[in-house]
């Protein structure tokens, strides 16, 4: 087999064995989906969901991603990637495809795919399952791989840059503002999840607080003691981390327990101070070492969860579709399945934020163009799997308990007695004693109104692990899961603050060049302070909201993430048309249309709905009217809370309208480009010209025999060249 044909990697005919295997996978998938569709009111095993997902992913990866890579995008292995052409040993560097897959996955997957599905479980397990699986196959993974491809063809340009150069200045500015504002909301909501998970939980606070000295120790170790020995220091760090979780269990018995029982307000202040300090410290001290820890924890827990699920094979307690989904009056968040399931579950199905990563570091490290498929599409499938696992974890716990944990404190009243009564009004039963027992089983003071998704997920993970591995370690597993989520949310907050600071310095630098100097302390400190203040304010709004912060802010988070996806998909459609690929434009076009329909409907409802539970401004006028009458509306207990609700709903409503408007500006400014591109059959773009590639590497996760032979042949020829004194 000659190198040139193996370089081309054109799809070959399937062998009879392959047809049999893929036929088998298709049958498994079809059976699982049928069971999920037909079973009603009986015990449904979680494994049906798990295997419906896995077989769908396998088929989508094998066929649809291949079609996208080779037919739609036209990946060309004879073309050198930016990593090969511009390699500098730092950001541009040829990276093994499996290693880059790990890097990319660690960068895209965080708390999002864990939190969204947990909240969406109030609508039943089926809407979430369908959206996560169908959404990732036709929208999320498509967006990630197409953006990665186009950015790679432009030497790793960022999303904002590409929008400005390929669509226009107006669209570019709108995209830039949208990216910045959306990032602030995402940071605030992630921080809110941490605050809600740690409030009144001395065990959680103790172990999370210890991650700071552990990370500092690792940072100094790598800087001064043994530079570069990441693996050994990470091993030490993980051991210390586990000890910190175990140690947390004893905190309550010491005097420290009282001190570490913190209110949400104090935690908010602590987090804001921490966020500012962390963002101005050098990265080697805190951010880099904590990133190693959180990545290892992330991969470890996901693998453990997959194994645990298969061993425990839990039964779903959740209904397939609940009345809350149909009527839109759920306590966790208000709104019907359409459009709210599609914005509550963003990460895991379609996440606009990924477009920032697929147009950031990853495209500069891709070794061969064909790797776009496994890294972009494959990486997102893996995140979707995380989301499915989270959905299962939330659906296996008792549903009375689920609603007791996730309903805002204004509804549950905060005590076991009141919460049990409230749960009865929802149509579920759980006794006050059971609520207390559930909290005691994981050694927490209370589980009532621990909103934000993390405590629910941790409780679900803890019961799955206890079922699978035995040992009566429920409390340890619960805090292990909390630690794992809080750890990478804090990493995301650190990194996001820093990225936001650079964006701000860069933008202001256009008007005042000195401000863009990243080593100039007054600029970097003030820009950090502005970013922290922005998300800190939104976090404070969420924490103190009498209506429940998650209830109020999570829709804003989901919608903004999906609006970012609309901007990214608009760019994809524009580039397809400019490259003259009208025939294939439906590949990013259909997800764009669907995303615009769902997010614009959701935005419209959040702004204009006359139901005060959904529409921010209607909520504002309802409370305003009551204040004018001198009356109190529940759950507010005094006039200050009434004023707070009025302010918060105004802020949320204005932001909501702003995000939708910015996205519409980007989409509308792209339409003239589309028309011109279609009329002339294509337009010039900023794609880098073709340069021949000299790297030989397999295309997929596992190398075929032919690919191995081609790599060997290539390596031998390189050695011959080196031996005869010539270098390439």
């Amino acid at each position: 087999m000659s190198t040139s044909t193996s370089q081309r990697q054109t799809p070959s005919k399937m062998t009879p064995q392959a047809i049999a295997i893929w036929g088998g996978i298709a049958v498994v998938g079809a059976v699982c989906w049928t069971v999920l569709a037909l079973h009603r009111g009986e015990d449904v095993s979680a494994l049906w969901v798990l295997f419906a997902a896995l077989s769908s992913y396998a088929i989508a990866y094998r066929f649809y991603s291949r079609f996208i890579a080779y037919r739609v995008l036209g990946v060309d292995n004879t073309r050198a990637t930016p990593a090969e052409r511009l390699g500098n040993g730092f950001d541009y560097e040829v990276t093994d495809r499996r290693v880059l897959f790990g890097h990319h996955f660690a960068a895209i997957a965080g708390a999002g795919p864990l939190v969204g599905p947990v909240l969406a479980a109030q609508m039943g397990y089926l809407p979430g399952t369908i959206w996560i699986i169908v959404g990732v196959i036709f929208a999320g993974a498509v967006q990630d791989s197409v953006v990665l491809f186009f950015s790679m063809r432009r030497n790793g340009k960022s999303l904002g840059q590409m929008v400005r150069e390929e669509i226009g200045v107006v669209g570019g500015i709108a995209a830039l503002i949208a990216v910045f504002a959306i990032m602030i909301i995402i940071l605030a909501v992630l921080a809110l999840v941490v605050v809600n998970a740690l409030a009144e939980s001395p065990w959680g606070v103790f172990s999370i607080a210890l991650t700071i000295p552990i990370a500092l120790f690792m940072g100094f170790y790598l800087r001064y003691l043994r530079p570069g020995r990441v693996m050994e220091v990470t091993a030490i760090g993980v051991v210390l981390l586990l000890l910190a979780i175990v140690g947390g269990g004893y905190v309550d018995q010491t005097g420290l327990g009282e001190t570490l029982t913190l209110s949400p307000e104090i935690l908010t202040v602590a987090l804001i101070v921490y966020g500012f300090v962390a963002s101005i410290l050098p990265v080697w001290m805190l951010l880099t070492p904590r990133d190693y820890l959180s990545t290892f924890m992330k991969i470890g827990v996901i693998l453990l969860l997959a194994v645990g699920l298969v061993i425990a094979a839990p039964v779903l307690e959740n209904q397939a579709v609940t009345d809350f989904g149909l009527d839109g009056d759920g306590p966790v968040f208000a709104g019907k399945i359409f459009p709210f399931v599609f914005i509550t579950i963003a990460c895991g199905a379609l996440s606009g934020f990924h477009a920032l990563i697929a147009s950031g570091t990853t495209p500069k490290m891709v070794a061969k163009e064909s790797h776009v498929r496994m890294i972009g599409y494959g990486g997102m499938l893996m995140e979707s799997f995380v989301a499915i696992s989270a959905l299962i974890a939330a659906s296996v716990i008792d549903q009375g308990l689920y609603f007791a944990i996730n309903s805002p404190a204004g509804s549950t009243g905060g005590t076991p007695q009141a919460a049990a009564e409230f749960i009865t009004t929802l149509g579920f039963t759980i006794s006050p004693a059971d609520l207390t027992a559930a909290a005691q089983s994981i050694e927490e003071e209370s589980l009532i109104s621990r909103t934000g998704g993390a405590p629910t997920l941790a409780f679900g993970i803890s019961s799955i692990f206890t079922q699978a591995f035995g040992g009566g370690l429920a409390a340890f597993w619960y805090h292990f899961a909390i630690m794992f989520e809080a750890l990478f949310i804090l990493t995301a907050v650190d990194a996001g603050t820093r990225v936001g600071r650079f964006m701000l310095q860069d933008t202001i630098g256009n008007l005042w060049p000195r401000y863009a100097d990243i080593s100039w302390k007054p600029a970097s400190w003030s820009a950090s302070a502005v970013v922290v203040a922005a998300w800190g304010y939104m976090l404070y709004v969420g924490v103190t909201d009498p209506l429940g912060g998650i209830n109020q802010l999570f829709p804003l988070f989901g919608i903004s993430n999906q609006l970012l996806a609309a901007i990214a998909l608009t760019l994809c459609v524009s580039l397809m048309l400019k490259h003259g690929k009208l025939k294939w434009v439906w590949v990013p076009g259909i997800p764009l249309a669907w995303d615009l329909i769902t997010t614009m409907t959701a935005s419209w409802q959040k702004v204009f709905s006359d139901n005060p539970l959904i529409g921010y401004f209607e909520q504002r006028s309802a409370y305003k009217a009551a204040v004018d009458e001198g009356e109190l509306l529940p759950p507010a207990t005094d006039m200050d809370q009434m004023q707070q609700i009025i302010t918060n709903s105004t802020v949320n409503g204005v932001l909501q309208a702003l995000f939708a408007l910015l996205t519409l500006i980007v989409v509308l400014s792209a339409i003239p480009v589309w028309v011109r591109a279609v009329r002339s059959g294509g337009l010039p773009t900023t794609e880098a010209p073709h340069e021949p590639s000299h790297i030989v590497a397999p295309a997929d996760f596992f190398a075929t025999a032919e690919e191995k032979a081609a790599v060997r042949e290539h390596e031998a020829s390189q050695r011959d060249l080196a031996g005869s004194g010539g270098r390439r």
Binding site: G89, F90, D91, D96, R98, V99, G102, H103, A106, A107, I108, A109, G110, A111, G112, M183, I186, L190, L222, R223, P227, G228, R229, V230, M231, T234, P282, V283, W284, T288, D291, Y292, A346, C347, S351, F353, H354, L356, I357, G360, T361, F488, T491, A492, A495, G496, R498, V499, F502, I518, N561, R727
Partner: protein, 62 residues
């Protein structure tokens, strides 16, 4: 059996060393040898990498 385990172990070690960036130092030494340049100390090299990370933050998604 033993051989398979050994191979798997080596594979995992290779993957972790690559993923954590430990092998970057080895690659650097290799490059220096190829170009006939005197490499800097590991401490200096890792500081240079940290400096680069400082100025090129990568966002972590949700």
């Amino acid at each position: 059996m033993r051989a398979t385990l050994l191979r798997a172990g080596r594979g995992i070690r290779w993957y972790l060393r690559e993923a954590t960036g430990e092998t970057k130092w080895d690659d650097y030494l290799e490059r220096c040898r190829g170009e006939g340049v005197q490499p800097v100390s590991r401490r200096a090299y890792e500081r240079h990498r940290a400096e680069h990370k400082e100025n090129n933050p990568q966002s972590r998604c949700c």
